[in-house]
Subunit: 352 residues, 2 copies
DNA sequence: CTGAAAGCGCTTACAG
DNA sequence: CTGAAAGCGCTTACAG
């Protein structure tokens, strides 16, 4: 059973392709109700599905949006992608999701492919590094609606939606300091980008406002695997006592921190207070995880990015662009506030 | 700056479109090295990207696979999708991911759209219910390579890759019984499908082998939200004492279980032993979650589905189909073993 | 109003 | 070997 084409229906109904096209697409056409029904029935019976390749080739638009992220399985991405897909679908747009594995070359490949598919717009959480800036300029210049999320490039004209990382980190660090932290360590990933640099800057700012200066050894950058974290953190936490605080650039690093605490017999928050970005991902079935979790005796505050808003704004931007509006850059280079969620159980005061 | 076409390059290079096409696609053509370079340079300078719509229309193949799941943000899906995308990309196929929100009508829409895009194959984790069986038959008859994952329809010719739910559940329940459980409760979702029905059957089988019969009141089906779970489970667990066991159809329900335990002052595994399918998803920052987690005093065993294998086999099936092989149904209606991961901390014996 | 014809941007069989 | 021409399946401006 071959795939039915418009002409198959036209032939059987004894009308022109034009007529069939117009009936199926609900365009104005004067045609008898019986003929119209016959065409619709034939389409159903033959399981007709318009060839979107052919249609798009003709229309030069696909009602499709490409979403390219560095890792769709991590952090808030699963939720974000789902929300984004839903919002776009409500507006009649289909979403094509691609992974780059944080690899710039793969990122170019994926985007080239999507553009070749004539996506109407792009949402990109870019891979690490600045290697693709030139490439993105090409896309920007070609006029494809395109917006970055989560990560961005300062000093470029590209639209972006990111969390106000500096303010969010400042609030988080302020909370630690309000809890009486006097010795503050920043734990971050070795791979840097402006978004995480801003987190560090926010922590610095909060500290300095209290007359505390972060020295080089207060900033620990390492790989995100647990072994690296233990190795890097152990010397710092060995002397941990009340008044010791740890800011986690990402809660992906939390389990490594708890491992370290367990190893040296410290607990959170009694010996070390922590606050970090984004959700946790422990595995309660792994004995090692479980044991380390026991080092956490109270829920820890987290900085939660507003993925719902991110998805909604990205959608709004694309829709506006599709309508031909070209909202000025300033309005669409936005930093969204994040929420510092301090569990009620915790002692300490949340900053205003 | 308009999008460059093949003809733009041909015109500037003073050659035919044929020549340009052959050079860019590395097809055999006798052409001077200089001309070849000139064409390649022009393509680069004009940022030429082949129009995949046009190419596919012509080739009747897109080197694209559609993946349609009921919820890409839950359970093992983020990992599975990432792995699948990677495996397919290694073979030169692009992956288009769609969400159906477990809604059959939306599922049809999404698949229709993907087929209209001439995807070469489909991987589907179908929405609940049997309403789309007829629709899937149409796809199957049309010969589009197509394989179901996670959920399936018995008695249909569709290929599928699912976990051997019955065997996995049997092992899990056997573990509980080996731990001395004499009173076994099955906690499942209200919405049923063959995959989860098989889990129930597996638990029944394990119980009966020990002379234990699950009665109606031993099977608790409710919504997956925590309030429903507490309401449904409280009467059962109020009398919990050593020898009480709980089988979780999905660990999505775990937090509701722990809530219940906390409410009534029971702990896991001292008062209630549990085992369940798939990873946990607690939020350590929510005081309520954290408090409930304290009811869990040891890591709990989980039944882990083999997502890596699932992704690899789905890829293998599609590739074989694309090559024109049509492996017989039996070989591709597969139930994959799951692993019962029993943390070493736990007392009790893992069945062979 | 209606339908034949042109055209979207490619690829490839085929005539020169 | 080479390039003009046909054709993939649609949509739509336009001639009748």
């Amino acid at each position: 059973m071959a795939i039915a084409r418009l002409s198959d229906i036209a032939q059987r109904a004894g009308v022109s392709k034009t007529a069939v096209s117009k009936v199926l697409n609900d365009r104005p056409i004067r045609i008898g109700a019986a003929k119209r029904e016959e065409i619709l029935k034939l389409a159903r019976d033959l399981r007709y599905r318009p060839n979107i390749m052919a249609r798009s080739l003709n229309r030069r638009s696909t009602r499709t949006v490409g979403v390219v992220v560095y890792d769709m399985s991590t952090l808030f991405y699963p939720q974000l992608l789902r929300t984004l897909e839903l919002a776009l679908a409500c507006e009649g747009y289909q979403t094509l999701i691609c992974n780059t594995e944080d690899n710039p070359a793969r990122e170019r490949e994926q985007i080239d492919n999507l553009l070749g598919r004539l996506v109407d717009g792009l949402v990109v959480a870019p891979a690490c590094g600045v290697g693709n800036i030139e490439y993105f300029r090409g896309i920007h210049d070609q006029g494809t609606p395109f917006i970055l999320i989560d990560r961005y490039f300062p000093d470029e004209p590209f639209r972006f939606l990111v969390t106000d990382n500096q303010a969010a980190a400042r609030n988080g660090a302020a909370w630690l300091l309000d809890c009486g932290v006097r010795k503050l360590t920043y734990l971050g990933e070795r791979g840097r980008n402006p978004s995480v640099d801003e987190r560090l800057a926010g922590v610095r700012a909060a500290a300095e406002r209290r007359g505390l200066v972060l020295k080089d050894q207060d900033i620990v950058l390492c790989d995100t695997n647990r072994i690296s974290i233990r190795k890097a953190l152990q010397p710092r936490l060995a002397q941990a006592r009340p008044g010791t605080g740890l800011f986690l650039e990402s809660n992906r690093m939390l389990m490594g921190v708890l491992d370290t605490c367990r190893d040296i017999g410290k607990t959170v928050p009694a010996d070390v207070r922590i606050v970090g970005f984004d959700p946790f991902g422990p595995d309660l079935a792994r004995p090692a995880d479980f044991a380390s979790l026991r080092a956490l005796t109270e829920p820890a505050p987290t900085i939660q990015q507003d993925t719902g808003r991110l998805a909604a704004l990205a959608t709004a931007y694309l829709l506006a662009s599709f309508k031909g509006e070209s909202p000025d850059a300033a309005a669409w280079q936005r930093r969204l506030p994040a929420k510092l969620v301090v569990p009620e159980d915790n002692k300490g005061v949340a900053p205003a």
